[in-house]
């Protein structure tokens, strides 16, 4: 059983894996959807425009609920993140490798979140004010807060990766096991694979990606808003 993503082609020392190809395909699909939905805008929306308006409305309401009205400028980033992660993690439905089942996808996104949190904290409070905020409520909490802030992107990346990767492993083990079971019964057609894995598919390829996307975006928003908030701590 091969665990890492397959290498499609390599240029010298640079390997282009499945993950990169699928990420580009998903970005292109999202771009295509955006282009189709704004191509010919109407007052009464239908088709792509209606879906896009519903999505934008949802993301803006969500951001406003989590970060407050004054931080609505983060909504486009959160929306991009949600679309990319949601679609990318659900690739298991098409029997493809989910792009988030690869640490090379999740670690950069977690680093972006890390920079977002501390960059905005520094911008709002200034360097001294932000250091003081990290050292609140007591000065000796400063190293503890620094450690927890440094661990945050690691857990963020590992949570997404671990969940989707474990789902992928469980699904492939299930399908292999069912194929072996039907081969033991003397059938060349793996008929056990027909309806039995459906609940697992639903859980690992639909529910889990949506939940993890929600959690990733929610944690990004909550921690960024917390770093920018005025109150100490």
């Amino acid at each position: 059983m091969q665990l890492g993503p397959r290498v499609i082609f390599s240029v010298g020392n640079v390997y282009v894996t499945e993950t990169v190809c699928f990420a580009f395909i998903i970005s292109l699909l999202i771009l295509l959807f955006c282009w189709r939905s704004v191509r010919n805008l109407q007052t009464v929306p239908h088709g792509c425009q209606a879906v896009a308006e519903w999505l934008v409305d949802l993301i803006y309401n969500w951001t406003e609920g989590a970060m407050g009205k004054e931080n609505l400028k983060f909504a486009p980033y959160i929306g991009t993140l949600a679309c990319f992660l949601g679609l990318g993690s659900m690739l298991g439905l098409l029997d493809l490798r989910p792009i988030t089942a690869d640490l090379n996808t999740t670690v950069p996104l977690a680093l972006v979140t890390f920079i977002l949190i501390h960059g905005n904290g520094n911008r709002v409070h200034g360097a001294g004010g932000y250091a003081k905020k990290l050292g609140s409520p007591y000065a000796f909490m400063f190293p503890l807060n620094c450690i927890s802030d440094a661990v945050f992107p690691v857990t963020l990346a590992c949570r997404l990766f671990g969940n989707i990767f474990a789902g992928m492993v469980v699904m492939s083990l299930t399908y292999n096991g069912l194929a072996n079971l039907s081969a033991k019964l003397g059938s060349s057609i793996p008929f056990f694979q027909i309806f039995i894995p459906l609940p697992l598919n639903f859980f690992f390829d639909m529910f889990e990606p949506i939940l993890q996307t929600f959690v990733f975006c929610m944690l990004t928003m909550v921690f960024t808003a917390n770093a920018m908030s005025g109150d100490e701590g």
């Binding site: 665990l3 590992c158 949570r159 990767f165 474990a166 939940l211 959690v215």
Partner: protein
């Protein structure tokens, strides 16, 4: 008398280690159950807050799950990408 080779011994011990690593799931199960139970209690007390309670609960569940996910990654590494072999 067939001797156990070093490779077979390491594989077997890695499999046992992978099983032991998953004991961490006990704590995760207790944590998630406690979390969900308290959310049910709160929703029963104040049903109109159900939506926001659900969101908070999902974030809490995901945070609790992290410990279990670390154990899972360790046991998957031991089983499929063993560093000792």
């Amino acid at each position: 008398m067939a001797l156990v080779t070093a490779k077979a011994f390491i594989s077997a011990m890695s499999a046992i280690g992978a099983g032991i690593a998953m004991v961490a799931m006990i704590g995760v199960g207790i944590g998630i159950g406690y979390n969900s139970g308290k959310t049910v209690e709160a929703t029963a007390r104040q049903p109109e807050a159900g939506g926001s309670l659900l969101k908070t609960m999902l974030v809490g569940v995901a945070l609790t799950e992290t410990a279990g996910i670390f154990a899972l990654i360790i046991s998957i590494i031991l089983l499929f990408a063993n560093p000792f072999l």
